[in-house]
């Protein structure tokens, strides 16, 4: 773990306490853009990712813009689920509170239409789903107990249908969406909001391998939309909104047609 040498959050007075958020998967793409957005709204942030160099630069940038320490970073591999309770406790002690938890870690590893690669698929499931379970279970338990808080899971439109191109990615996001729905059904009655975000094509590392893309938006646009959804305590959002209607159609394409399509 790389530490943030000699840095700590400056104490704020209790009446003007900042909101606190943890972002898992914050080093680039939507995560980094959302971190900047939340920081601009005065959130205190704990940023997590494997890539500590990128996080370090991001933290520096955020803290410089804010003129105070708003973000701290923690090197973390989401496939190391056993370390999560310890790390969560450390972050809580550093931040002093938690209002928002965002799980954004995700990978997409394309395999050819005729290829089946268990090693890659397992990794996809571990990062996109198992890592989410490792984090969301303790966070959900905590928020349920506290009767407050908001959980955000960055899923994908890809989870709405199993396509030929990337089975394990589709499966991981479908499972994540389903898990988040279960959490929502569990936690809403305890005053906790669970938001599932389903982005379409966003200009990130994940998109590099994709061939046919359309309606591509920047991570900043995505972060703006997500922030709005967080503020409004939404439950499921498609980003951009047009995807809601596209996916409504896609979800209703009969299987005998869908299985003949290649996308």
């Amino acid at each position: 773990m790389v530490d943030n040498v000699d840095k700590q959050f400056p104490p704020s007075t209790p009446l003007t306490q900042r909101k606190c958020a943890i972002l898992v998967g914050a080093s680039s793409g939507i995560g980094a853009a959302l971190a900047r957005r939340l920081a601009s709204k005065g959130y205190r942030l704990a940023l997590l990712s494997r890539r500590s160099e990128l996080l370090s630069t991001l933290c520096e940038e955020i803290n410089k813009d804010a003129g105070e320490v708003l973000a701290l970073y923690y090197e973390h591999d989401v496939t190391d689920g056993d370390s999560v309770p310890g790390l969560l406790t450390t972050i809580l002690a550093d931040m002093g509170n938690l209002d928002l938890f965002v799980y954004n870690a995700g990978i997409s590893q394309m395999v050819g239409l005729k290829k089946y690669d268990f090693v890659k698929d397992r990794r996809t499931m571990e990062v996109n789903l198992v890592g989410a379970l490792a984090w969301l279970n303790p966070v959900a338990a905590m928020f349920q107990q506290l009767r407050s808080g908001q959980i955000v899971g960055i899923s994908s439109v890809a989870g709405d249908r199993g396509r030929v191109g990337n089975p394990s990615y589709n499966a991981s996001k479908a499972a994540l969406s389903s898990y988040l729905e279960s959490l929502r059904n569990r936690l809403t009655r305890h005053g906790v909001n669970v938001l599932t975000v389903k982005p379409g094509f966003v200009e990130t590392d994940l998109l590099a391998g994709a061939k046919k893309t359309f309606l591509v938006i920047s991570p900043e646009q995505a972060a703006d939309e997500i922030y709005k959804a967080i503020s409004k305590h939404k439950q499921v959002v498609y980003i951009p909104t047009l995807w809601r209607w596209i996916m409504l159609i896609v979800r209703n394409i009969p299987s005998f047609i869908f299985r003949r399509m290649v996308f």
Binding site: D3, P14, L15, P85, T90, M95, G96, L146
Partner: protein, 487 residues
Amino acid sequence: MDNADRTEHSFLHIQENGVLMSKPSFKDLHLTENFGHSLKAVSFQMKAETTDEIQDILHESKKNGIPITVRGAGRSYNDIAMNGGGFILNLQAVNRILEWNPDSGIIRCEPGVTLEKLWQKVLPDGWWPPVVSGTMTTTLGGCLGVNIHGKNNYKAGTIGEHVLEFSALLPTGDEVRCTPELNKDLFYAMIGGMGILGIFTSITLQMKRMHSGLLNIKAWNVANMETHIQAIDDHKDADYIVGWMDCTARGSKMGRGQIHQATYVEDDGLESSQSLQVDFQTLPSRFFGLVPKSLLHYFMTPFMNNFGTRMVNTAKYLVGRTKTYQQSHAAFHFLLDYVPDWELGYGRYGLIQYQSFIPKETTLETWREMIDLSQKSRLPSYLGVTKRHRPDAFLLSHAVDGFSLAMDFKVTRHNRKDLSAMLQAFDRMVLEAGGRFYFAKNSETLPETARSFLGDEAIQLFRKLKEKCDPDNLLESDLYRRVFKNA
């Protein structure tokens, strides 16, 4: 911050009746609140009943690098007993009275003993705690941690002045015994030391002799600020004196209110010390014999707004008449317990109390300036309470030869920023007037404010003691981190 040594975690799993070391459970996280329900923090809550259990928790804290805040009844208005993301160690269950000598009036208690338990033990034998707060639910550990004062501060000083001896467990694992002579520096620093130098394990106090459970009370109205201050100052012969101030009154009426003075009764004419019995003192549970008091705060809520409180304050002043009567100790002292859960009447976002102590020479102008600012900011205090004080020898003392004004402010969803700015403006006025502050109350104190009123010398001395008693910073609180740690 060094995260390197925090990678290995062995956690406490907190069970109903104690502490068991096992796995982490985020279900043990709870929201801790201040007494006014306006501040909240997430903490792992645990309790201990023996010194060994406290030692175990200190050990876990050190191993995990997660600080502990010791908490009693949680009646402080600020974040002194809160610890965001850390451990809250509740010592309310450490509440045995260890020794009581009804001849000498000396009592030795564990820190979780409440003032309620204390007075109920000693009064039937003809004694009364020499200093009590406005509520009897506070624990002695908490009372010493902030060095409480009562309505007799100008005469009896703070509770610390009546402590003959205490024992404490230091985070280093050492147990120390302190008296005004033995370990003198620690004695004067731990009392009023916010609970961050060590944990009290036993406290020996001298009680005050009583011949009756009644007090002679005299109450009268005062029309403005000058007469208010003068009245308090002129009646320092009384055993207790306290003022209520209508902080919504403006112009020439600003500072109007009501003064209550109380003197001990030598002979109440009652048979066989009847008035000293606990039953005689107990407050009625119903209002006018009809409405259960536990429901009263619901009736307060509709009036807890700027307009409503102005009406209530005005009505209270207008019906106020000069009168003398007798009242039991409990009824006179524990006004805050008169309406249970009264703080809930302030609504969802609670309240903050602000109290400052101002030298007598500058009190008048400073109070006027503060009340004027609160009225102009449309954030008037709904309740103002005034008292007379005198300085004491404690390291982080709040007292001055002058007056204090405690003001309650309603916190709303939208006024937090403005309220914070106003309270910090108050701080500047108080500092300019040579005043001091009390660590059980104000929540918005900045590090520079504390430095300014305590002085560098006191802070350096406190820091040295902290390094000696708690080199690993195991005892911390939100207040300590905010005001002292990085100051």
